[in-house]
């Protein structure tokens, strides 16, 4: 069971969880869940471009996700982002991506592996790219932590402290695009935003400070990744969705625990 495939898959899962959980805290605090969805779903367009023009998939996803995230964030600055517009963008990006993939030359594209991930097919190269991406995201978030937190709390508070909240928003946008690009192999375009949101939402029940929430969210993300991987091997289930199921289970358990704490 603990062969090379398993070890590579586990490393990939841990890398994605480490990058997505702390970033996911900001997605939750800033109520950007739909924003995350919209960006993640454009990954399918990135896949299509990569298949049609034979360019590197990580790179094409990264660039497309970056364009989408930037567009959405500048739209929201101008007060355009209604829930509806976000929903339109998120799902049209997904649909357009799937349609575009069907134009790709190779007729035997495994659509499912892009939608739900195929963690057990990751190569050593993939793992390297995932870890480089994760390190970049983690470094960005740690470097800008206090500024990001202040800008999240209140943009004017940030300005008064000499921080430009628009710049911080751009940094989050960039980090989000990187996470989308590295996470598609692990959980797929459809489930990327669940790796952002569920660990953070689960951690909320136990935390008193933003830092502890980011840390515990990372732990929960890693536990979900490894737990999901093991469970998918034992029950021969698709790995990406199994990882998300484990995360969801932890979320339910944490909320039951919290309700118990309030009741006593």
């Amino acid at each position: 069971m603990f062969d090379t495939v398993f070890i590579l898959a586990a490393l990939a899962g841990i890398g994605v969880a480490t990058a997505s959980a702390p970033l996911g805290c900001f997605v939750v605090w800033r109520r950007m869940a739909y924003f995350g969805d919209a960006t993640a779903h454009t990954a399918m367009l990135g896949v299509a471009i990569s298949l049609i023009f034979f360019v590197n998939m990580f790179l094409s996803i990264l660039i497309i996700a970056l364009i989408m995230a930037y567009t959405v964030s500048s739209l929201s600055e101008r007060g355009h982002t209604t829930d509806t517009l976000m929903g339109v963008l998120a799902h049209s990006a997904l649909a357009a991506g799937v349609v575009a993939i069907s134009f790709a030359q190779s007729g035997d594209v495994d659509l499912e592996s892009y939608l739900f991930g195929d963690i057990r097919a990751v190569t050593a190269m993939d793992v390297t790219i995932i870890w480089v991406g994760a390190a970049l995201v983690l470094a960005l978030v740690i470097w800008r932590w206090s500024a990001l937190l202040t800008a999240t709390l209140n943009p004017d508070l940030a300005y008064a402290g000499g921080i430009n909240p628009k710049r911080e928003q751009l940094i989050l946008t960039l980090a989000l695009a990187v996470v989308v690009a590295v996470a598609i192999k692990v959980v797929g375009a459809l489930l990327i935003s669940s790796m952002l949101i569920i660990p953070a939402a689960t951690a909320r029940a136990f935390c008193k400070t933003p830092e502890s929430m980011a840390f515990i969210a990372t732990l929960i993300g890693v536990i979900s990744a490894i737990g999901g991987l093991l469970a998918s091997i034992v029950w021969s289930t698709p790995t990406g969705p199994t990882i998300v199921c484990v995360a969801a289970l932890l979320f339910i358990m944490s909320n039951i625990l919290r309700m118990g704490k309030i009741a006593t």
């Binding site: 709390l153 943009p155 004017d156 508070l157 300005y159 400070t209 933003p210």
Partner: protein
């Protein structure tokens, strides 16, 4: 000697001119209050001072050593964000040796560091925001409608605290308020704003200025004063009602 100088400032909100040709200055250790009806550009002026909105014309000259402590009008903390008082105090500077307990004591709060921000009462929350703003000893403390949501006793106590802070810290204070009668007595200078500076001077001078009376009336009926104001000026006021024939409205 002024620590901040605003010269002919014009600011636009979309197509609307929020401030036109506003000039003002704040001296060291001075309490300046900006009064004006809803939509008069009070908050816009403050946001321009902290650099949150670009200026269209004119300029804001700040003293090189100027440090600003800012207390926003409202601060919504999302329930998903866990934040203790102590952690909030350390935003945005993660200074481990910050005098958190001492500063909280200055605003009359003790044993509150480990409480969640969302569990505080309105008055406590307001004081914590002030404490955060003064922790690094600013030379200018800016407060945007600081007593909104406090009851009368609460806001009276709050203004006492502000005066006390001015004495103990020696910082200048710029306040925006609509509570004219309370605010006036504590201020060195009052600026009456309505898109432009209507009048400006000591509280006595402003209170007797015809421009001020035109804006706020002379009686105590705040609602009526705002209502009258709408007819004297042509700015847009979203929050005023336009029931033109109801002269008996009161608060």
């Amino acid at each position: 000697m002024s620590i901040i100088n605003v010269e002919n400032l014009t600011v636009k909100h979309g197509v609307n001119t929020a401030l036109s040709n506003v000039s003002m200055s704040i001296d060291k250790a001075e309490i300046v209050t900006v009064v004006g009806p809803n939509g008069s550009g009070k908050s816009t002026l403050i946001r321009a001072l902290i650099g949150a909105i670009p200026t269209l014309k004119g300029r804001i000259v700040k003293d090189p050593g100027l440090s600003i402590g800012y207390v926003p009008q409202k601060l919504h903390i999302d329930p998903t964000l866990p934040l203790t008082v102590a952690r909030f105090m350390r935003l945005p500077y993660q200074d481990k040796s910050a005098p958190i307990t001492e500063t909280l004591e200055m605003v009359g709060l003790t044993n509150i560091e480990t409480r969640q921000m969302t569990s505080l009462s309105g008055g406590q929350f307001q004081r914590v925001m002030v404490a955060r703003a003064i922790m690094h000893k600013p030379s200018l403390l800016i407060l945007d409608e600081p007593t909104q949501g406090l009851d009368q006793r609460g806001s009276a106590a709050f203004y006492q605290l502000i005066e006390h802070l001015r004495t103990s810290l020696g910082c200048a204070i710029l306040m925006v308020s609509h509570e004219l009668h309370v605010v006036m007595s504590a201020s060195n200078r009052v600026i009456c704003l309505n898109g432009h500076v209507c009048c400006n001077g000591t509280p006595d001078v402003v209170a007797s200025a015809p421009e001020y009376r035109a804006l706020f009336g002379t009686g105590t009926h705040g609602a009526l004063a705002l209502y009258r104001h709408d007819h004297n000026h042509t700015h847009d006021h979203d929050n005023c009602d336009h029931n033109h024939h109801d002269n008996t409205q009161d608060v």
